[in-house]
């Protein structure tokens, strides 16, 4: 997986003057990564770091140990299920409503105050209230994750739609396209590059909330596992858990990028107006 290249491709069309060859990019990425890891390991081996901060090698070993024990496989399933379900529900609704709000003042106004008031409320603080409704179950966790994943997608999709060149919509109206069709065939593609920035943030938030919700109530999963390890002072297992969560996030993100590229985002510059 190419890192910077895909990072760029996903977000926006690339238009650098100093376009670098793929190999060069790869070389720099690898070199810098290796350098940082080596420095970290060096510090760890030199004993400069406190005891509870592990070096990369130690963490890798702990990760392998956790994977061997079978705990990892058992924890990953439920965690991914929660994070991804919440993410899909939250970001899909967020993107849809956001685009609607972007092109319809009625929707925008309707959600406006509500959005700014409910967004900063720590959703995890609402968990007890939700748990009363749905129990200390996966349903509650997924709901909390979905609510949290909603906002970044919503905001970015809305702003993406707001940035559309109005004349493109004029074209659609002229052609006699129904609002539904204009929405899906003009607003959606034009706003997609920006909306995807939000979807990326939503994915990140989903994983944060996955860990946070697994700490509340009784739960299994990676978050619960790493918190348990932390409580027991087993830092190795804790770091292994963190690595596992990170890997899940990375893979999910990579899939998201592939899907985005499959949808053709990044081949054109979107419909944002520039004069």
């Amino acid at each position: 997986m190419s890192t910077s290249g895909s990072m760029a491709a996903q977000l926006m069309r690339k238009q650098s003057f100093l376009g670098a060859a793929r190999e060069q990019t790869w070389l720099i990425s690898t070199a810098f990564t290796v350098f940082v890891l080596a420095a970290w390991e060096g510090l760890a081996m030199a004993g400069v770091l406190p005891e509870y901060i592990y070096g990369p090698v130690e963490i890798a070993a702990a990760f392998v140990a956790l994977a061997r024990s079978g705990d990892l496989a058992a924890q990953t399933g439920p965690s991914l299920y929660r994070a991804l379900s919440g993410f899909f529900i939250g970001s899909a609704i967020g993107v849809m409503l956001g685009l609607l709000a972007g092109v319809s003042r009625v929707f925008r106004d309707l959600f406006d105050l509500t959005q700014s008031f409910t967004h900063p409320i720590p959703k995890i603080a609402l968990f007890p209230a939700i748990a009363v409704l749905l129990g200390f179950t996966d349903k509650s966790r997924i709901l909390v994750i979905a609510i949290s994943a909603f906002y970044p997608s919503y905001l970015n999709a809305m702003n993406g739609a707001l940035g559309i060149n109005a004349r493109l919509l004029w074209v659609a109206r002229n052609v006699g396209a129904s609002k539904l069709r204009s929405f899906f065939q003009v607003v959606v593609p034009a706003a997609m590059p920006r909306a995807l920035v939000g979807v990326r943030i939503s994915l990140m938030i989903s994983f944060v909330l996955m860990v946070a919700t697994e700490v509340v109530g009784h739960s299994n999963g990676l978050g619960a596992g790493l918190m348990q390890a932390y409580r027991d002072g087993e830092y190795g297992a804790m770091y292994a858990g963190i690595v596992a969560v990170a890997l899940c996030g990375v893979v999910a993100n990579a899939v998201l990028q592939l899907v985005a590229r499959g949808l053709g985002v990044g081949r054109h510059s979107g419909g944002a107006s520039h004069g």
Binding site: P50, Y52, P128, A131, V132, G135, F136, V215, V216, G217, H218, Y230, R231, D232, G233, E234
Partner: protein, 317 residues
Amino acid sequence: AGANADACAAVDLSAAPAKPVPIRYGTTGGGEEPLALLWADKAAYPNNGKFYSLEVTEFTSTDRMTAFQAGQIDAGTISFPALVTAVHVGIDARAVAALIQVNKEDNEGAFAALDSSNIRDIKDFKGKKVGYYGPNTISEYWVKSALRRAGMKPNDVSFVSLPPPAQEQALRNGQIDVAWLARQFLFKATSTGGVQTIMTPFEATGGQNQPSLLIFFSPKFIQANPQAYCAWRKDYQQALSNWSANREAAYPKLIAAKYVTPFSAKAGADGGRSEGGVIPLAELDATMKDMAAARFMPPAMVQPAAKLVMPGYSLVK
């Protein structure tokens, strides 16, 4: 039959129902070894799966009462201050048995400071940062009680809320001056060295025996399922005596059930258990009085201990 008569004596435990009654139980995850034996060593407690089946869920402290109020658990573990507060605000939960008892032999944990610090007793706490488990937890009460006894005020120290495992590190890093270390953490800290015990809860409260952790049930549940409850209670008392008799034999089973880690098993004997799980009401009353005096608890919350327990079905003395 009166409040003092044991209602379980009248419950027939000879014939089991067709299906065991599920008891949804919320644990905290620390210091509940005798209780954990009920599922860790299931073979020894045949009533589990016959009269009742224990469905255990682990919660953080406030979540547990949320789940209880939402009707998602029937019973659970509760600290003494939480029980008082819960009953005071009208939550329908009543204590039925004691789980951890603060007494002379108790080694559930202690307040500790670094050897290198000059903190040696409660008088040295003035202006210091003291680690505790959070507001309205029993660790807060112990400090405040000791402060009162030393003629000091509650705000002579600043409290720092920390999860149990973080306390030792915070102490060693100088982020707090005094840590509350639960048994396995105290064991770990003292075996590493450089840390010394300042006072145990028993000392902090001026030698007062008191249950610090209790088991509560929903009275409605007990009334609806007396047989399941009494069968459970019998098992629990059995487990307590087994635990007291031979902890070394119990540990491997608890480890296998993942209730404790091999390391915390090494922390060894606890001793802080009340005989037969019985709740001494007089101790509760005395402790509540001390809580109010230490300005840990508003006087309005002080209530007769008998109100905190389930009449008839509780193990009380």
